[in-house]
């Protein structure tokens, strides 16, 4: 019975794959929970800085840091946050599609683009696509630290401060819920104006050392914090997407196995029937 044996091996190999996908699903689920916690704990920092910058921009209207000023765009920067590993559904692919969409709308206006890549998937994708890549960082792991990102962010911050780029965007996934992740393009620089900057009364800080230095420092920290947040959120997205993709794979394997089992049983039955009829017809002939 060569046919039945083949089917049996196939069922077995699908079963083995299913074991792997199930394990990956469970690993992703627990990692996702931790990543989401990390996402929440890093949120207050950026919010606080944003509030302080809001106060400052209002209290010190005569000094406007370079990060708040909008100028004509000749060259823009994109920071692209992707995952290091695959097997997470269409997560990275959708992100790159969104990034290319945003980039081509600038290119149509004859604006040049500098890229900063975070994650291996972005690295291999944009390497093939081409483009001017000015910085990259990979292998951040599940719990990245802000120190891993400083260099990459500084490349872009310096470029902005020196006037080499006129806008800075970050492309990353937003975690809407476990089932949905949405790629989004956010403008980091110049800061989009915030509502809380409008205040009724006038007041000012005491500064130590001087306000311009502090405002610049805060602005830098703010951008770093935002990039860090995006990276952490993207990790949560990656794990969520992987969990969903692996769940789908396990379910598909279930379906395949039950289909194959049906075919296997039919083949087995047919073989037995055939054997029986051979025996009976043989007996009849004698």
């Amino acid at each position: 019975m060569p046919a039945t044996k083949e089917i049996r091996t196939q069922i077995k190999s699908i079963g083995n794959t299913q074991k792997i996908t199930k394990a990956m699903e469970m690993v992703a689920a627990s990692k996702m929970r931790r990543a989401q916690e990390r996402m929440l704990t890093s949120r207050p920092y950026a919010e606080r800085i944003r509030a302080v910058i809001g106060h400052l921009a209002h209290a010190r209207p005569e000094y406007e840091p370079v990060y708040l000023r909008t100028r004509a765009a000749y060259r823009v920067g994109f920071i692209i946050v992707s995952s290091d590993r695959g097997l997470c559904g269409g997560l990275n692919h959708n992100l790159f599609k969104r990034a290319i969409e945003a980039m081509s709308s600038w290119q149509q206006k004859n604006v040049e683009i500098d890229l900063c890549l975070i994650g291996q998937k972005a690295e291999s994708f944009f390497k093939r696509l081409g483009g001017s890549i000015v910085g990259n960082v990979t292998h951040l792991g599940d719990a990245p630290q802000i120190i891993d990102l400083i260099g990459t962010v500084k490349v872009m911050l310096d470029a902005y401060a020196e006037g080499r780029i006129d806008r800075l965007f970050i492309v990353s996934n937003k975690l809407i819920n476990t089932m949905t992740q949405q790629p989004q393009v956010q403008q980091l620089l110049p800061f989009p104006p915030a509502e809380e900057m409008a205040r009724a009364y006038q007041w000012d800080y005491l500064y130590e050392p001087d306000p311009q230095y502090l405002l610049d420092l805060l602005s830098k920290r703010y951008v770093e914090a935002q990039v860090y947040q995006s990276v952490v959120e993207n990790i949560a997205c990656e794990q969520a997407a992987r969990m969903v993709a692996m769940k789908a794979a396990s379910d598909n394997a279930d379906g395949l196995i039950s289909e194959l089992k049906l075919i296997y049983n039919k083949a087995r039955q047919a073989a037995i029937t055939q054997e029986l009829s051979e025996i009976i017809s043989g007996a009849a002939a004698v």
Partner: protein, 139 residues
Amino acid sequence: MSNTIKVDIVSAEKELFSGQAISVVATAVGGELGILPKHTPLLAELKPGEIRVNISETQTEIFYISGGMLEVQPDGVTVLADTALRADDIDEAAAIQAKQRAEQMLHEQHTDFDYAKARAELAVAAAQLHAIQKLRERR
């Protein structure tokens, strides 16, 4: 509880402390600063050092931070702590490293094993094998 002040110590990675205190002592670049409730708005850069949060007369919590910022509002104190030691030359070195990585990645197309390319080649080879098998079966 009018003689206490709300204190938040946050770093980019997590919230370190959040609660009421009677006073806070921090090490700013110009020297130690003691903050009591109803302090005038203040913004200061902090040196690597300790922050003492006096929760009550007897209870004090101490945090060590490697620099950051201190913001004081009449109703609260916020410490934006750096978790890593930050200095301009360290940052500069990190930036140069990031640039170098990018350049290296672009140049090292052949030495580094390119998975995407290998996978594409494998797919082509598998398709060819498949076609050959089909041809053989037909004969």
